[in-house]
């Protein structure tokens, strides 16, 4: 399908019927432009960012321990699972669709660490405007070159990015309680 010509391609893999193209963070916009213009992925369905902090470890949502069964600790029954390690903390997945008679879908993915940024694709697919704002708002991904990167779902003065794994659940921070 000509994916090997995608600029900055790290790997192209097939799993459960879906193609994932991992590209270098620095070359994301070149890769996006190539996919849109050369391979006719004209429709950006979705941008989904994910936080992999504690992946395979003990953060909420993780499954077991490698030692196996400990009936006193919930969710540790059975053999421990060690999912494949991820290259960096955050992933940003662009779900692309070639909207034509023989449709095709592909997942363009890039990985970044906390202090890294990724180029905005607003000029390539205008729909990315709010999708990138959402990824910034909830996960804290910073899209370089986005013309208006502000929160979209959370209030403007909100602190932190709620969908990060180190963001606590079960209550909002209580005002004036820090110095007690």
């Amino acid at each position: 399908m000509g994916y090997e010509r995608v600029p900055g391609l790290v790997s192209a893999s097939e799993a459960v019927g879906e193609t994932t193209l991992v590209v270098e963070r620095e070359q994301l916009s070149e890769a996006a432009l190539f996919l849109r213009d050369e391979l006719s992925f004209n429709f950006l369905s979705d941008i989904a960012a994910a936080d992999y902090l504690g992946w395979g470890g003990e953060v909420a949502g993780a499954w077991g321990s490698a030692d196996g069964r400990d009936i006193n600790v919930p969710y540790t029954l059975g053999p421990g699972l060690t999912p494949e390690p991820k290259p960096k903390r955050f992933s940003v997945s662009y779900h692309l669709l070639a909207l034509r008679d023989d449709p095709l879908r592909v997942r363009l993915q890039t990985w970044l660490d906390e202090d890294e940024r990724v180029a905005s694709v607003v000029e390539i697919w205008p729909v990315a405007d709010w999708l990138e704002r959402e990824a910034y708002d909830l996960i804290g991904i910073i899209f370089e070159g986005h013309p208006n990167l502000v929160r979209v779902l959370m209030p403007e003065d909100w602190e932190g990015h709620p969908l990060r794994k180190d963001y606590p659940i079960g209550g909002e921070p209580v005002r004036f309680s820090e110095e007690v």
Binding site: S45, A50, Y75, L99, P103, P126, D129, W130, I169
Partner: protein, 431 residues
Amino acid sequence: MTAKTVQTGAPVFTGPVLYEGTRIPSPVPSWVQVDPARREDGNVLQVNFGPNHPSTHGVLRLVVDLDGEEIVGMRAVIGYLHTGFEKSMEQKSWWKAINYPSRIDYLASFQNELLFVLAIEKLLGIEVPPKATWIRTALAELNRIHSHLVWLGTMGLELGVQSLYFYCFDKREQVLDLFEMVTGVRVHGRYCQAGGLAEDIPPGFVADARAFCRRMPKAIDEYEHMTQQNKMWQKRTQGIGVVSAEDAIRLGLSGPNLRGSGVNWDLRKREPYLFYDQVDFEVPVYERGDCYDRARVRIDEMRQSLQIAEQCLDQIEKMAGEPWIADDRKVVLPPREELQTSMEALIHHFKLVSEGYRVPAGEVYVAIEGPRGEQGCYVVSDGGAKPWRVHFRAPSFPTIAAAPALCQEHLIADLIAISASLDTLMGDSDR
């Protein structure tokens, strides 16, 4: 909590600029900016439309810059209904998380629930019995009719065809009665399970659903009469909020909004899921891309949905007594009666309820054709009993972002017609 926030400042504008060859405002596609020269005249008035306005279908705030009655600038503010469903779902085991999606888009509740279950099933690689798939297809179409009826009724209310609202909600109630019959409640049924359905359909459902399908075409004729042959409706929708096919694709519009602009794109036909490749139906497409055509697409779609539902009912009728859920004891709850006699069944039941099933590690993106467009679900599993990350592609989200581009150079009264014809839902966009 100590995450850095960036201050990007207000975007810099020099005047209304459009992306080349489009009608999409630049540099921010979702923000129509007032021409600075125009602002200097002192005639531009900024008005908050919403968040508590009856025409916003929830809590949408539109910041509109008006010069007289003309819209010269606009942006949308959302998030008033943000509930953090995606975060909550990460804390629940897979089978408990199925409760959440139907609350996201509460008009397409069954379809959203189905979407999440399809994603789980894709990761599990579990086979669903045909009867369950037929029932899912039928209910998905009934759900589409329900959603379109609510849209049509409220759009009528906003465009001054108030009686339409009562006509539509009468029929909507009949759809909800069918859902209540099957799932026990009107809206949030939680009827889908990974591997099939929670229960078999009750006796009498097929007959009642058939009766509904017989009554409905006449009602749709009435709706057509009250809308498309209504001079007021025509005047307020024809040529209003036009979006070209190319711009609709760039702006990420999907579903009826895309088909109203002449793009023949329906996931049920193009990427068939469930049993849509085995039923006979047409995809209504209209060319002009205005409010009138978007409305026509949805009204025609209701007819097609009835046709699909009837074909599904034919199949369901033939399958009386067949299983409605897969026979996989590692995922599916054992039958209730076995718990009295079988130790094995009791253990399975206990483990499935207390701990839940595990889903193999991986990531999937599943998309279905919802009433509002492409509903997508991105799920990441680490192989455990809880989802690692769930993300919903809410069709209303890009649609609301596109509204300012459609409203530019229109009058304030047209804004009502445009936002109604886009059929957005705040629960869906805010999640």
